[in-house]
């Protein structure tokens, strides 16, 4: 395994940790430890490997999981937001609307459960890029890390 392949594999391990533990209070230092990198290096390398910075990948995973719960469950908006890792319903609703283009309740009213296996849903329905969204999640720690040149 070349050095680049080894770095890829460690970054993938961190991305897998996001996919598996998205509801936990993840932050850059913890994910950087999974990748065995310094936080600043981790952020740069993650973006280079996967095309988006780690906080955005996490945000889109949380929104994707929220979309699934809104489609498939009768949970309240507050229950959904807590279940996917948001601390406040306000932040969740703002982020959801910015990413999806409609509010959680509007989305729920217009959507149906998808007749596809869960793994396919997770891989194929994570929202793609729209506007850059402020997460309001300063606890993630990315903004606090100097990314350097």
């Amino acid at each position: 395994m070349s050095a680049a392949e080894d770095a890829n594999r460690r970054l993938l391990r961190a991305r897998d940790a996001i996919d598996r533990h998205f509801a936990a209070p993840l932050d850059v230092p913890a994910l950087a430890r999974v990748a065995l990198m310094s936080p600043a290096h981790f952020i740069r390398q993650f973006k280079a490997a996967f095309g988006e910075p780690p906080h955005r990948y996490l945000q889109r995973r949380r929104v994707e999981r929220a979309m699934a719960l809104l489609r498939d469950s009768a949970w309240t908006i507050t229950e959904v937001s807590l279940a996917v890792g948001f601390n406040s319903t306000g932040t969740f609703s703002r982020t959801f609307k910015a990413v999806v283009g409609q509010s959680p309740s509007t989305y729920r009213g217009r959507s149906q459960p998808l007749p596809a296996p869960d793994c396919v849903v997770r891989a194929w329905t994570r929202p793609a890029a729209r506007a850059v969204v402020a997460t309001g999640s300063s606890s993630f720690g990315e903004a606090a890390v100097p990314t350097g040149p």
Partner: protein, 156 residues
């Protein structure tokens, strides 16, 4: 026209490391290990399904140019080559516990699905493997399922 799927290729970075994982941890058996001079023909299979083999192959020269081989290995280690296989088991949660104890990296905990219980893991190189415990016996289709399918058909 065809009879069966007998061999499927899985890209790996190192064949010995692949054996340590697939045989040593997942419980596959080596079915062919032949030094052909120009390549090592290495296949594995499950003891319970000996006619379906996985060919463990290292992408690189001379089959691929150094540059293209490197591109494939780059995608592999980013997890971008997708699913190596879906394995079935009689007990997904126990398999998850056993393999977790052996240090296998899971990407999804056992999850209840309409079709059974499943979870997912990564091999050491980046391939994804899913494990499914299918529901036994007839699966009851409820009125709610029918309503959901009707709605899906109408909205598509």
């Amino acid at each position: 026209m065809f009879n069966a799927i007998t061999i499927t290729a899985v890209p790996v970075l190192d064949q010995d490391d692949a054996l340590a994982f697939y045989v040593g941890k997942l419980g596959f058996k080596v079915t062919n290990d032949v030094d052909m001079g120009f390549m090592r023909w290495l296949t594995i299979a499950l003891p319970s399904d000996p006619e379906r083999h996985l060919l463990l192959e290292v992408p690189g020269p001379p089959a691929l140019s150094e540059e293209v081989g490197s591109q494939v290995r780059d995608l592999l280690t980013k997890g971008a080559l997708g699913l190596a296989c879906v394995l079935t088991t009689d007990d997904c949660r126990k398999t998850f516990e056993d393999l977790s104890g052996k240090g296998v990296e899971f990407t999804q905990d056992p999850t209840d699905q309409p079709y059974g219980i499943d979870c997912a893991l990564r091999d050491p190189f980046g391939n994804q493997i899913r494990i499914t415990q299918p529901h036994q016996g007839p699966v009851e289709i409820t009125e709610a399922d029918k309503a959901r399918w009707r709605a899906g058909a109408e909205s598509s």
